[in-house]
């Protein structure tokens, strides 16, 4: 079976700035992978290229077995995305928003699907409220509901629990993990929330200045760096001299720069 995501020598330049510098990685189907890195590391740029809303300068991306540059529309209906930085129409109610996106994704039995998600994400009481009138936390939950509408095989999450209180954040994480367990979907998330990454992810790609500087399972990375949490690993990676990892489908090779 082809990997959910296969990225080869991906580069993105914005004029003189190289935001992503030749990264390669694969994400196995049914796994949860995190892109971890500080601001400007290239996480959102990479996610945008995986979604096809940003064209790479060079390199290739295969998503769910399809070349995203040539057959983007074959896979868009099988994946979804959420980010606290991309809004939904504020004047529409939560239900109207979900109905609109359910139609865009061709969701069958739309009413039932919205009712299920409303129950799972505790949205039933706010379905008739305007999206713009909701708190940041509620908006994030609605955005997650939108991302799960089409029961995606691949879910790309940009800081999925940003601005949520610990209780709601925990419920959203549980919901996402349950969803993955039930459907075997692949999750790729960009996050600054280290406990979230430790709890949810099988593998972590550590990005710095557009390069993958390390990769592995959270426990593996923690052990490798002799630390006790991913947060400490993150700080180590952010402050140590750069290391580059080139990851092929069957190999991991570490190089010290």
């Amino acid at each position: 079976m082809t990997p959910a995501i296969e990225v080869r020598d991906l580069v993105k330049r914005f004029d003189a700035v190289e935001a992503v510098r030749g990264i390669s990685f694969t994400v196995a189907r049914g796994s949860t992978c995190a892109l971890l890195g500080g601001n400007g590391a290239g996480k959102t740029t990479t996610l945008s290229m995986l979604l096809g809303v940003l064209l790479p300068s060079s390199g290739s991306i295969s998503v769910l077995g399809e070349d995203i540059a040539r057959h983007r529309y074959r896979v868009l209906g099988r994946m979804n995305f959420t980010s606290p930085y991309v809004d939904l129409p504020k004047k529409l109610t939560v239900e109207e928003n979900l109905r609109m996106f359910a139609r865009l994704y061709g969701v069958r039995d739309m009413k039932r699907r919205i009712a299920v998600l409303a129950a799972e994400l505790d949205l039933a009481d706010i379905l008739k409220r305007a999206y713009g009138a909701l708190s940041a936390g509620m908006r994030t939950r609605v955005s997650v509901a939108k991302a799960l509408l089409n029961e995606p095989e691949l879910l790309l999450l940009d800081e999925p629990t940003a601005s949520l209180d610990p209780d709601v954040g925990d419920r959203v994480r549980t919901q996402l993990m349950d969803y993955q367990k039930r459907t075997g979907a692949t999750l790729l998330l960009a996050s600054h929330n280290m406990p979230e990454v430790e709890r949810m992810c099988d593998t972590v790609l550590m990005l710095r200045a557009g390069r993958i500087v390390d990769a592995g399972a959270p426990a593996e990375l923690i052990a490798r760096y002799g630390r006790s949490t991913m947060e400490e690993v993150f700080l180590d990676v952010a402050r140590r001299p750069e290391r580059t990892i080139e990851r092929g489908p069957d190999e991991i090779r570490l190089e010290r720069e």
Binding site: K12, G52, L54, G77, S83, V86, L88
Partner: protein, 269 residues
């Protein structure tokens, strides 16, 4: 300690500077400042020139100016409908969600056109009823040709609306004022209220490149001579086809440009 009422030139200058920085970076804002006075002056200058010699001619045909005004509204509302539908997504910062869904850009274009049709029907429909109540004039007196005028002007409006949307996708919301004014570039040379022959020769050549000129000439022929000018109709159809192709191409070009520059997830902020 200075009094709360004391004015600081430095602070005032700082705020002026804040806008000058914007103007320096945004040519669309600068053009917009000169745009309306120029358009109004040109349009009403030609109207005044025409009425000075032909006022009795206009007076003989009831509804000439009202018909012209209503048909102009079809064009304006059609264009505005397309542009505003697109702006709604920008204001909502929703483009990112739309373009990661299976929605194709051409499907978005089609939806904007459909919404524009409804907006125009509501806007112009109200004006048509008002014209009936206030001036006892029904634009439906134009008969079957009215359908061809409406259709041609709507399509032209949609084409310009797509060009405006493309401009905003390229230059951001600083260019949104073009939605309100772009179509008025064509107003003085479309012969809405006066024949194209009123214009200087060189400007007539430009005017005949617009579908609108052919529509309004056609309208006058129906009202004044009870004749439907097929040649004007087909010329308008041909020009509209070209304008529509250009509008769609510009929109798709701007979409691809936004994909290259990474604007689709950010635009509207």
């Amino acid at each position: 300690m200075s009094s709360p009422a004391a004015l600081s030139l430095r602070r005032i200058y700082a705020m002026v500077l804040r806008h000058l920085y914007l103007f320096r970076k945004s040519w669309v804002r600068v053009i917009e400042m000169a745009y309306w006075p120029t358009m109004q002056m040109v349009l009403w200058g030609f109207i005044a020139q025409f009425l000075a010699t032909n006022s009795s001619w206009v007076a003989q045909v009831p509804g000439l100016l009202v018909s012209a005004l209503l048909l102009w509204e079809v064009l304006f509302r059609g264009q505005l409908g397309v542009a505003l539908s697109f702006f709604e997504e920008l204001y909502a910062r929703n483009l990112g969600h739309l373009f990661v869904s299976p929605l194709r850009p051409l499907e978005l274009v089609a939806s904007m056109i459909a919404v524009s049709f409804f907006r125009t029907a509501i806007g112009v429909g109200t004006a048509i009823v008002l014209a009936l109540v206030l001036y006892h004039y029904s634009i439906f007196d134009l008969g079957v040709p009215l359908v061809t005028f409406f259709a041609n002007l709507l399509v032209c409006g949609w084409a310009v609306g797509l060009m405006v949307a493309a401009l905003v996708m390229r230059y951001g919301l600083a260019a949104e004022n073009f939605a309100w004014g772009a179509i008025f570039v064509a107003a003085p040379i479309s012969g809405i209220y006066y024949p194209i022959s009123v214009l200087p020769d060189w400007l007539q050549a430009v005017a005949w490149c617009l579908p609108t000129s052919h529509v309004f000439e056609g309208m006058r022929a129906v009202l004044l001579e009870r004749t439907f000018l097929w040649r004007e109709f087909w010329t308008a159809v041909g020009l509209n086809a070209l304008y529509m192709i250009a509008g769609i191409a510009l929109f798709l070009g701007a979409f691809n440009g936004a994909r290259r520059r990474g604007m689709l997830l950010q635009i509207g902020e």
